[in-house]
């Protein structure tokens, strides 16, 4: 038995401070105070508690408030038996601050990359039934604001059929709300707002916007955006409040832009296949950007509905549509003049439809 120097001790039962001597016996030790001796205690049960000034404080597993305070130089034999001090926390102490910082940076980068990139692979794996149910829950009958007339419905169906090979998967509706917008939502839901129809100068313009939204549906952008948003919310959940939301929005926005570009490309391809001239869409974007150059920024106020709304405003996108015109090609109008009038006035003709006013959209 070898005796060590004096240490301060609290037994955790009372607040009385004791000066005790540590007596080590193998993997155990006793605490001796005058005639009293307590123990044995196992070194395996000793826990590092904290550093107080120049002293290290140790506790004992299972003994609330039991403390040994070791100040001054501690003999190496004793140090070897005691648990290592804790500075930054378990992992960082094991690796060292520098290495841990690098490891954490890499892990964080990988986590963000996975969250940003995996929705592209994951979205197609989500069963259609989930997508449909989500769409139904979100859209339903839109509070009775979808416009229907027999002739208008027929015109819309014709337009959709000319742009898509499997129109039965899609649910395209016109909503009686006077805003210049269109959205793609889960479950193949595409909503054209009446304001957009009223502003459009020709059915070709509507065809271009509709093809853009169908592009979002076909490229699974909606589910991708949802997954990405949820992933970012989890990964950035540890970052507090505003900065997290800001990073989240920036990342989401950059992806929403690339999705817009993909949807544009889809739209041009589909218009070409359907023999509809893209010039209408180009001039429509032109007018849109002249009308409200900032419309593109307001989308994040609209939650998921606004997430993939179509605001193709930039001049370069207008140019792209203009460039996709094939000279000498014999384009035909997307709808006949009668059909176009029926579609344009569908909401005005529908007596049963609810008005868009009071619809708390923004």
């Amino acid at each position: 038995m070898s005796a060590f120097f004096d240490v301060a001790h609290y037994d955790g039962q009372s607040a009385v401070k004791r000066k005790v001597e540590v007596q080590v016996v193998g993997q155990q030790f006793y605490l001796a105070e005058n005639e009293r001796r307590s123990g044995p205690f196992a070194f395996a049960d000793v826990e590092y508690v904290t550093r107080q000034g120049e002293a290290d404080v140790y506790g004992l597993n299972g003994r609330d408030g039991w403390r040994l305070t070791l100040s001054g130089p501690v003999p190496a034999e004793l140090t070897a038996l005691l648990p290592a001090p804790r500075k930054y926390g378990g992992w960082v102490d094991r690796l060292g601050l520098g290495k841990a910082a690098i490891a954490f940076t890499l892990t964080s980068a990988v986590a963000i990359a996975v969250v940003l990139l995996s929705p592209q692979w994951l979205a197609p794996l989500i069963p259609d039934s989930v997508d449909d149910r989500l769409g139904d829950a979100l859209v339903g009958d839109f509070g009775g604001r979808f416009c229907h007339t027999p002739a208008g419905d027929a015109a819309l169906d014709k337009l959709v059929a000319s742009l898509d090979d499997a129109p039965q998967d899609l649910r395209v509706e016109v909503a009686n709300i006077d805003i210049l917008n269109a959205v793609a939502l889960p479950g193949g839901n595409v909503i054209l707002f009446d304001g957009l129809l009223k502003q459009a100068g020709s059915p070709d313009e509507v065809a271009g916007v509709l093809a853009h939204e169908i592009g979002h549906v076909r490229e699974k952008h909606v589910m991708q955006a949802l997954l990405r948003q949820m992933g970012l919310a989890v990964v950035l959940g540890g970052v507090d409040g505003n900065s997290g939301a800001m990073v989240n929005n920036m990342l989401a926005m950059s992806y929403s832009r690339s999705a817009e570009a993909e949807a544009d490309a889809y739209s041009m391809k589909v218009l070409g296949n359907a023999n509809i001239s893209p010039i209408g869409t180009a001039s429509f974007f032109d007018r849109l950007s002249a009308l409200d150059g900032s419309a593109g920024d307001s989308k994040d106020n609209m939650g998921i509905a606004g997430y993939l709304s179509s605001h193709p405003l930039s001049a370069s996108r207008k140019d792209a549509f203009e460039k996709s015109i094939v000279k000498g090609k014999n384009y035909k109008p997307a709808l006949t003049p009668t059909e176009w009038t029926e579609l344009k006035t569908m909401c005005a003709q529908d007596r049963k439809v609810k008005s868009g006013f009071g619809f708390d959209f923004y």
């Binding site: 609290y10 037994d11 955790g12 039962q13 009372s14 607040a15 009385v16 401070k17 508690v49 904290t50 550093r51 107080q52 000034g53 404080v57 506790g59 609330d64 408030g65 039991w66 403390r67 500075k87 930054y88 926390g89 960082v92 601050l97 841990a100 910082a101 954490f104 940076t105 892990t107 964080s108 986590a111 963000i112 829950a137 979100l138 859209v139 339903g140 009958d141 839109f142 509070g143 009775g144 604001r145 919310a233 990964v235 950035l236 959940g237 540890g238 970052v239 507090d240 997290g244 939650g303 998921i304 509905a305 609810k354 708390d360």
Partner: protein, 362 residues
């Protein structure tokens, strides 16, 4: 060694150095950034370990034994049981608005608000309970057996009662909740008793309460007196502009300088009364900071943050704790032999971690 007579200097003394704290705070900031915020629970723990360890009560240092993991698990639980349901409810609400059921959506949002209101109260209570249960002095800790669910209801009720008479009873709400919280807490074998009075707070509250009216009346007087003051010569015809400018300055000064000042004057009195009504067995407490101290403290904080372009923010925990300890005082005597271990529930690692509600996130 039985009775510890309190020394002539304050019973509470802080001898931390900001340079030491800076080393902790800066490495914390680095690790928090590279872990996307997750390290902040361990960061808080390290800061508290330092601040507690540098604080003397009478003749022995305080000890913080909370763990980063506890706070992290608490955060995860809040995220799973509060955060995620809120996101779902928000989605459902959006869907309901889409489907034209605004009443149902409103009800859902209202119940969500009630739940958050309730949990805020519970969180205040549990944060105090958690902190006391992790604070040791001479191997003895504090705590409470009360889970705080009842307190959550009181918090809602008393807050609403304080608002009802046009917000005039807010001081009663604050003091009464403080008393209720502390009366449920204990340290060692002794229960705290909190008997702060709220009526002495009313004078300063009325001052704060009436500022907007005084400013409004003052501004009104200037406007009314403007055309009436015949003695003002108008060599440049600029008196009107002068008055208007004066009005703007008065308003800005009132809202950005006078209102916060009066809020501090009120709060300093509140805190003095609240701490002054606190007893622990034979100990009485006092908080000696006057309004001037609080104002200088906040001005210095602002200067630090502005001059360091915001980096100084990481020193605020240090500044807050130093301000708190420097102005705390205790009177009476403690019988060390009587001060035995707290028998309140202690949550071991991984158990009852709801105590770690101490996240400040809600």
């Amino acid at each position: 060694m039985s009775d510890e007579h309190l020394p002539h200097h304050s019973a509470f003394r802080f001898h931390g150095r900001w340079q030491e704290f800076a080393r902790i705070a800066i490495s914390n900031l680095l690790l928090t950034i590279v872990t996307l915020g997750i390290y902040r629970f361990w960061a808080t723990t390290r800061e508290r370990e330092y601040l507690w360890g540098k604080t003397d009560f009478i003749d022995e240092r305080l000890e913080w034994t909370g763990r980063g993991m506890e706070l992290f698990i608490g955060f995860i639980m809040v995220f799973l049981f509060v955060g995620l349901p809120l996101i779902v409810i928000q989605l459902v609400t959006q869907g309901l608005i889409f489907q034209g059921a605004p009443v149902l959506a409103g009800l859902l949002m209202f119940s969500m608000f009630l739940l958050l209101f309730y949990l805020t109260g519970v969180a205040y209570f549990r944060a105090l309970r958690y902190r006391l249960s992790r604070t040791y002095w001479r191997g003895i800790r504090g705590g409470s057996d009360n889970p705080g669910f009842q307190y959550g209801l009181s918090y809602m009720g008393k807050t609403v009662l304080g608002w009802l008479p046009i917000f005039l009873m807010v001081p009663w709400t604050m003091i009464s909740l403080w008393n209720q919280r502390w009366n449920a807490m204990s340290f060692g074998p002794h229960r705290f008793s909190a008997n702060a009075q709220w009526t002495p707070l009313m004078k300063r509250y009325l001052l704060f309460y009436l500022v907007p009216f005084i400013v409004f009346v003052g501004a009104g007087t200037i406007v009314v007196s403007m055309p009436l003051s015949g003695d003002a010569p108008e060599p440049f015809g600029g008196t009107g502009a002068l008055y208007f400018g004066g009005l703007v300055i008065v308003t800005v000064v009132a809202f950005y300088i006078i209102a916060p000042l009066i809020a501090l004057i009120f709060y300093s009195k509140y805190f003095r009364l609240a701490v002054g009504g606190l007893r622990l067995h034979t100990l009485e407490f006092e908080f000696r900071a006057r309004a001037v101290d609080w104002i200088l403290f906040f001005l210095a904080n602002m200067v630090i943050i502005i001059c360091t372009f915001g980096i100084g923010y990481i020193f605020m925990p240090y500044r807050n704790w130093k301000f708190f300890i420097d102005h705390m005082e205790a009177y009476g005597e403690i019988n060390i032999d009587e001060l035995t271990q707290s028998q309140t529930v202690v949550e071991k690692h991984g158990e009852g971690l709801l105590d770690a509600f101490d996240v400040g996130a809600i």
